[in-house]
Symmetry: C2
Subunit: 339 residues, 2 copies
């Protein structure tokens, strides 16, 4: 079997937490070719529980992220099951003992992939959905001279307190299942995964999405319960619970200023971003509300706030669920890339 | 020990579901005195998991609900632990076998309490928060000639699909704990109750409430985690899980039109309400959004939409958590009662 993606092996990778992942691996997929000037690079990190496959909806001929024009690199986030994760790390750092990895750790490792391994010094654009947006903000603040453009969508530079609480609910539901066994399960805790899915279902889409019955009328499910079982439980069940919890920790502790560069000064970190940026929250996103994005934009020197006009909630931004939203986003990406 | 409330015993109470509760009991508390004309009656039903104690914040000298002027009746909802509930019903209808009770069943029983038992033919006002609002709408549609005024706040006439999904998450978290044992627990499932509490925490207050740190600055908790443990887990732990699930079912299936009077015709049911009504959603309520209330008001002949201007989310309406909101609500109640 040939993998459709590549692996970069760091050897020992030291993390902010003090832990070291031995033979740390970053799985990544590329689209298109690096041109001779090496100036056609787009970095496009993954989102919570997603793998590079789940990012591909935004890549294609004729789209902004066109592999005929750009060399697009999708690095898989640690914990997502392809890069180093609880599910694929050997003992003793496996499963529940997988170390806590920050967005800072992720982006620092991605930067090494891009520079040391791929020999790239300049990036045209960094973009991403949700936790991909979190990493996009990190790229901008940590390596402000390295890229021209940023387009974080449906995400934030720092996990808000409300977002933190929403994730507490997901975590509590998943781990309430005794079969979870503190992370040392032999078989997946089905009940906990399904409970986490049902908790998530209320957050992923907006009140208006459900009121307009878009789960039935636009997505084709046969009933609300069918949507909860097939879409939501079906989405969570294949995931590894420790992986989900590892990424959840990364999310809850996401903060561009929580590192030795900015020492917790959030405004300073936002102010350090030089790239021209479109910050695109979903207008009805329940966990990345427009107000948080507006606050970010107010503290960034070269950013514009462009809400996605959609009732699809968080899914206005991805993963390619609603064609109308994809078109709007793609046009903004084209506009930004043309500038 | 003397109870501070009274019990009305129905004998056999037949429910919409077809089940019968034998020796069905409705616990109620009254404030003030019924006047000679019997025209000073206010009915004020309870909310999800609340008991009449939890309604008393809106009753007091100088307030709209002044016991010196009005005879205020607070009927406890079935399932709340004081009226007939899983926790207090004898075998064989106890615990997980407690029958499904609708808001229609509740209000029909409350109507019997008011008319048969208390000898009252006319009600000045029905008001209530959250599921109390659901019952308020039912009163208006089921007994349209019986009252002058309605003021449902932070609630709806029908459980929305999104609200249904949010409650699925709470239910899934609570029942994911193996100690729940399908409702036949001997000891309370602590982990499940705490998980349900954490799920609820994200829904109860708004994104802005958490952003402004009102849990710390207004409510005095020492940290976000302190708020989650002391306020939220502390709120859920004393409750009986089967009671919570019984009321949750009542909520999820709340619909003023789901009965033999209206045969599912929601607009007809809303149109049947004759009382002058102030419908007061919380501006930032995450599960009773203003749009749902606006839709109700549009279908009611004599209703006005008055959103509560607050960032306290669902708790803008109760239970007396924020003095500014209580004042706004109390003034609207006074205005309505003076009309």
């Amino acid at each position: 079997m040939t993998l459709d993606y590549k692996i970069y092996d760091y050897g020992d990778l030291k993390l902010q937490s003090g832990a070291t992942i031995r033979n740390a691996k970053l799985a990544y997929k590329t689209f298109g070719k690096l041109n001779a000037a090496k100036d056609n690079v787009i970095v496009y990190p993954t989102w919570y529980s997603g793998q590079h496959y789940d990012n591909e909806w935004l890549v294609g001929k004729g789209m902004a992220l066109d592999p005929d024009k750009y060399f697009i690199v999708i690095p898989n986030m640690f914990g997502n099951g392809l890069s180093s994760s609880p599910s694929n790390t050997p003992e003793p750092y496996n499963a529940a003992r997988f170390p806590r990895v920050t967005a800072y750790d992720n982006v620092k490792a991605q930067h090494r992939l891009i520079t040391e391994h791929l020999g790239i010094e300049h990036v045209r654009l960094v973009t991403g959905w949700s936790m991909g947006a979190l990493q996009t903000f990190h790229w901008g603040a940590m390596y402000p001279d390295m890229m021209d453009l940023l387009l974080p969508f449906c995400g934030s530079a720092k996990c808000s307190r409300h977002n933190f609480v929403f994730l507490e609910g997901v975590k509590a539901a998943l781990t309430a299942d005794a079969a979870f066994q503190g992370g040392w399960y032999k078989e997946k805790p089905q009940i906990g995964l399904r409970a986490a899915a049902r908790v998530y279902a209320g957050w992923g889409f907006s009140q208006s999405f459900y009121r307009e019955e878009l789960d039935l009328k636009a997505m084709g499910y046969s009933s609300l319960e069918d949507f909860l079982v097939e879409f939501w439980e079906g989405f969570f069940l294949p995931k590894d619970p420790n992986n989900l919890l590892a990424m959840l920790w990364t999310w809850q502790n996401g903060d561009i200023a929580a590192n030795e560069i900015f020492n917790g000064d959030f405004k300073k970190a936002l102010g350090a971003i030089k790239a021209k940026t479109y910050v695109m929250p979903g207008e009805t996103d329940l966990y990345f509300p427009v107000a948080d994005s507006a606050n970010e934009v107010a503290n960034m020197p070269n950013a514009e706030l462009i809400p996605l006009p959609s009732i699809w909630g968080h899914f206005a931004g991805g993963p390619g669920t609603n064609p109308v939203d994809v078109k709007f986003l793609d046009e903004k990406l084209k506009e930004l890339l043309a500038s």
